[in-house]
Point group: D2
Chain length 305, copies 4
């Protein structure tokens, strides 16, 4: 594997398992639950600094919901996925009181629009609590939301904006939704990851930005992410790996340095000036299904039935 | 005139002139400039409390740029309007240093989308100043921007959001862009108003919200507005007024109370539960032209040629 | 009533009932069915030339489904409306074999986008029948669809385009979907009309175009319409009518000629060069609900459960 | 090179030149023109059957306009590209009389939306010629247009729709606009190809559909295409090729069969069920620039200045 370029904790756990001898996986617990032929849930718990270092992820819980063939999902199955997602989300919410939901990403970029789109479909209640609380069913949660845009269109770090708003409205917790990168094409638009460790905005599709987490926000931050793209570099590296595995004559390359691999990737991709990403041609439709699962699941948390 | 339901200062000045005896217009100065057959500029200056009370507008300058037949504008004329708009905007900017531009309104509502749409077409520079200042031409202004959404979708007062962000990034001035209401169908999508007095978000198309101005933000606030809708009630009131003027038999109604007029409006409109507004059928196309003028004009201020 | 400017047959029937002495309504049958507090169905049957002349509508059946408070509809109620709509639609389909569905209107104009939007959400099957029929459930209907655009963007009469395609693919029937005009603000985005008499494209929001019906297409044409706008002229005329009714002093106007009324409307509206229309401010959201009802209802017809 | 999977004639010509001995290139003429540092034009003429067979493209002219760094293009440069594009387009139009412009592709799929988007920005004149010819400047061309949608949303072959409409309105020529595939990442969103040989709809991003050309339409067909995607398979094949070139140890693979290479590609990509394509992350913005060049260039042809 060329590098560890994935935001998915269960992918990293998988990689760890293969690379590290058993017994050394101290600090990482992995659980699997098969809900149906189509739906499964993986929970990765990073318990301590050792696990965090091994996995390259902060201490906390990472839940991934995996859905096979989401492009042909029935209404029944969709309802089931929403149930599971809502259940797992609520498990991670260990705070009462107002919630700020943040939709990260650029709504005008196909691979990056899931955050802002979810925000538009949420049942926002904070202003109703303030002006017409009698309209709200019992047990409704106090929720406000914002899609702050991205650095390139606002000129402000997302963290700056969210932190300013959080200071002002004082939520008891924050939920952020973002597109993620995967280093595994099989995960694209098939997985929802929920974690209680916060997020680095734009990790999925751009430069690393400042973290949005408990340290920077002062309240718990739950992150919901969906892998929408794989970098083109990943495909090149995969090809290299498969070749060296498949042909004995290439075994001499097995120990080639990171630098050598990186040079190869650069050689293949440099004719294009742009940031090349790999996406399913069907991304628009697949992303719509994901968006519906997440917004419906959060709405069920906001107004329990 | 049934009521004073307009955000346009020059409309109000017009009304004042007709209703108030000359000499009493102390505190209001009005100037006109005809740029061409197609373009004219009106400046209304509210100098003191008396003028402010008479006009129902805060002390400050209100500039309106009027464009005839914007639906058939040539590229030459468009360029000229952008020049004029940019010139008038710069006149009102009496501060140096970073600027925060705010696009008010709901980008998914046709009559309310001009603010968020302008934001998307601006040349944002704040992050370039921070990370790659060498890329910027000399005299470039430091500008960041946000489209915060509306109360119904965020649950937060727009003023809360902007004030929080302004406290954090400390701009030397704020520019807000919003759709306005007019009480005059002839002004729809024909006029751009610029003022240095701030704005009440959503004044154009909904309930009154909290002001965004020097008092609440701590820095100068310049407002740019375009009238996109007239309330249906205005059309009813106009009909009533014209009838009572036109037919002597109706003269007895001339002195009918506000209450009586209001009852009539209610009678006509109450069969619909919804907030009825009057818009040109061509609104989408007309609004696009307005959006281009405003974004190009602001960009010329950001990066002078 | 200033004129008969409505596409809704049940509105016209209502007007007829009030204006024409009983017994003379030969050729028009009206039936009502209350499904629930929220949903009702009205059927107007125009049986002969006399009825057609009286009503100003072609001979055939006109069904209107009325939904109260569609803006706060529950999922249960939405499902019920879809059931009713689907049931009534199937009643009117008296042909077997391939169906061509046509979404009329301009998808970039808020008041006119319902036709093209419905098309995008249909379960199209014609190409699957041709290339992979084994994928289709039993009893699936053979359906293809097109959103041809409007005269202003294509340069072609909609009738020309549809007729050319129909000649080529030879459907056994055509279903067209379009936005309608109403002369009654209470009907806006509250009603779906289904008829087996065809349609005049753009009747709702523009100039009269050539008919799409059995005569011009050679196969049965079923029309589905939703009133989305009222012309501003209607509001003016309504005000005039209510004033003359309410104030005895105005009784002299009761017999004013069409010309006089028309002059009044012109006087009120002429300050604007544009085609002024009245819409609910909430139109985008309301139209989305209508779009879902129609596309889901047609899909149920295509693939019966 | 794994296969010949590109719609760009100049790419194919380049490949031919490298693979075929000089002198055998009978039937293919290639010309280059450098307009500026940023803009160049390549013309490939396929003169006879031999050239057609060698190049795998129909007999005719293929012009490619190449633009470096289109993401930072100035207004001056944009104007220049539009000039060049318009000039080259007019050169290929060897017919008088009405023109039908067809925007191929799916406007809701990022990589495939350029055709329908261009259509929306054209100056359509056919209906004005019919109803108000006095409004049109002298020398205006009679143009109508349609964006017919794709097989998956219409159920009809694009060729069926266009052929039916062409039979009905009888244009003297057809212009089609479509997204293309390239097998070279350096060409993505950098090139416009114009040819007088027609097009196979969806060649760029899906299955091969029926040709739209002189044979099937009965009138000349000019095709305008922009490469927007590379298939992920191309990246895998490129990696393989570069590896075998770079490492002597792999020379034994140089003669590996098509089957072996194909198996490798499949191995790398099969973990994803979807059709993986490679696009610049910046595709939305880049495609907007391309769309403006093409619509402005065609408009200049319609209404000469």
């Amino acid at each position: 594997m060329l590098d560890f370029r994935t935001d998915l904790a269960d992918e990293r756990a998988e990689i760890c398992k293969n690379e590290i001898k058993k017994g050394e996986l101290d600090g990482i617990i992995t659980e699997n639950e098969n809900i149906s032929d189509k739906i499964s849930v993986t929970t990765v718990k990073v318990l301590n600094e050792n696990g965090s270092k091994l996995l390259g992820k902060d201490i906390g819980n990472y839940i991934t919901i995996n859905i096979e063939n989401i492009e042909v999902i029935t209404n029944e199955e969709l309802k089931q996925v929403i149930d599971i997602f809502s259940r797992e989300l609520i498990k991670l919410i260990n705070f009462d009181g107002p919630i700020l939901v943040v939709g990260l990403g650029n709504e005008d970029t196909t691979a990056d629009e899931i955050g802002p789109k979810v925000i538009k479909d949420l049942e926002i209640t904070r202003h109703v609590f303030r002006y017409k609380p009698e309209l709200l069913p019992e047990n409704t949660k106090n929720v406000c939301a914002i899609a702050p845009g991205v650095l390139g269109t606002t000129g402000m770090e997302t963290q700056e904006i969210i932190s300013a708003i959080a200071k002002n409205i004082k939520p008891s917790g924050i939920i952020v939704i973002d597109a993620l990168a995967s280093n595994n094409i099989s995960r694209l638009l098939k997985t929802i990851q929920i974690s209680n460790t916060g997020i680095i905005p734009g990790a999925g599709v751009g430069n690393k930005r400042k973290k949005i987490n408990f340290e920077t926000m002062g309240v718990p931050v739950i992150a919901i992410g969906v892998p929408t793209v794989v970098e083109a570099a990943t495909i090149v590296a995969d090809t290299f790996d498969i070749l060296t595995e498949k042909f004995d004559e290439f075994s001499f390359l097995k120990d080639s340095s990171y630098k050598e691999k990186y040079d190869l990737v650069k050689l293949v991709l440099e004719p294009s000036k742009y940031n090349l990403t790999v996406m399913p041609k069907e991304i628009d439709e697949l992303a719509n299904n994901m968006e519906e699962i997440i917004s419906s699941g959060i709405n069920r948390m906001i107004i329990p039935e």
